[in-house]
């Protein structure tokens, strides 16, 4: 198991808490909780060892521009492929803005 912390700049605090997904084989769980304005902190627990570079690349694309809401995000990953990860993240961000 690998544990990863990522920090990004962000906008105003997220409006609500969101949970999507399940820690099933090939799937993951994403929890979003509001955080203080300007900060996006992401903690990843991944069953796939050696996946840090992939996680960083994938999350940089979404959060490096600092446009996302300020949040504390937690990802519990049970070996999801990058495709599943991006679908779950899109689902979580969509529910956040719903």
């Amino acid at each position: 198991m690998e544990k990863l912390h990522l920090h990004y700049p962000a906008g105003a605090p997220a409006a609500q808490a969101v949970l999507v997904g399940v820690v099933a084989s090939g799937d993951l769980e994403v929890l979003i909780a509001p955080a203080a304005a300007g900060s996006c902190h992401i903690v990843i627990h991944s069953a796939a060892d050696g996946s840090a570079a992939r996680w960083r690349a994938q999350l940089d694309r979404l959060f490096a521009d600092g446009q996302a809401a300020a949040m504390q995000m937690e990802i519990n990953d049970f070996g999801a492929t990058p495709g599943v990860v991006s679908l779950r993240l899109a689902q979580a961000l969509e529910e956040l803005s719903a």
Partner: protein
């Protein structure tokens, strides 16, 4: 049923099996009444899985929802079958047992809270050993306590089924609802194959496994009370009917003598099949 009707049913039906544990609980409770207790944002993780390098889930695979069923107070405990096979460890087991214990405490104070358990579980979580076993014993005790006041209704929809110590919990329920996809058994097929040999019990022979432990067979043997299509609306209707019926006159676990006599009368030299099992359970004096 015609091909067209099959397609229409698939498109219009609302599958229960395809729902997650949380969605199942929400789909059963009266609209807008659901309130989750000890939910994922409380972050009650299993402390044992992470110590063994296994990724945890924020609700430890058990969802507790308080709400109303047909206007009556109820608590639903739903087990998430796709997280660690729906196994019960220290945290998830304590959540489930406490939910039922609090429902019994409600009843002692004049609040008629009912209990519903959505089983989707392989039983004890082996990584948590005795703590999981102790939690399951507490669940059994809590069901026995609550069924003194109100019916506790179990639902096994599939696809995991209900095995191990939790199959005993299912046997303690006042009423049990199953689908054809459900399975109910003390030992899972692979465990039996390992112990008895592949000639006796081939765990990869799915028609054989379902013919002995599947929902249809369990209902035909009177070990479950209702066999339903995989449809959220039908399952909710049946649940409300059992709620309205109240406590059964003689719950299944009080008829153990009848079942023991049946098992003692069984000829174990012949390979059991679906028909002989049905005849066995319906033979002898009516309980």
């Amino acid at each position: 049923m015609s091909h067209q009707q099959d397609i229409a049913r698939l498109l219009q039906g609302r599958s229960f099996i395809e729902l997650s544990a949380r969605e199942r609980a929400h789909s059963l409770l009266d609209a807008g009444s659901c309130r989750e207790l000890a939910g994922p944002f409380e972050r009650l993780y299993s402390p044992w899985l992470s110590a063994q390098g296994i990724v945890t889930q924020a609700d430890d695979g058990v969802v507790i929802c308080k709400g109303l069923l047909d206007g009556q107070p109820a608590v639903i405990a739903a087990i998430e079958g796709s997280f660690q096979g729906g196994s019960l460890g220290e945290v998830g087991g304590a959540k489930l047992a406490s939910a039922l214990e609090l429902a019994a405490a409600d009843n002692r104070q004049g609040i008629p809270t009912r209990g519903v358990i959505l089983f989707e579980t392989g039983g004890v979580r082996l990584q948590e050993a005795n703590l999981g076993l102790a939690a399951i014993a507490e669940i059994h005790a809590a069901i026995a306590d609550l069924t003194r006041y109100q019916p506790v209704i179990g639902i096994i929809a599939g696809t995991v089924g209900c095995f191990g110590g939790m199959s005993i919990a299912a046997g303690l329920c006042s009423y049990l609802i199953v689908t054809r996809e459900a399975r109910l058994g003390l030992n899972g097929p692979q465990v039996i194959e390992q112990e008895a040999g592949v000639a006796e019990y081939d765990s990869r022979n799915r028609p054989f496994i379902w013919s002995l432990t599947g929902g249809e067979q369990r209902q035909a043997c009177a070990l479950a009370d209702a066999l339903l299509e995989d449809d959220s609306t039908l399952i909710r209707q049946q649940l409300l009917q059992f709620m309205a019926r109240g406590l059964p006159e003689q719950p299944r676990h009080r008829r153990s003598r009848h079942y023991l006599e049946r098992l003692l009368a069984m000829d174990s030299a012949a390979q059991a099949d679906a028909d002989s099992a049905r005849q066995l359970f319906h033979s002898g004096e009516k309980p």
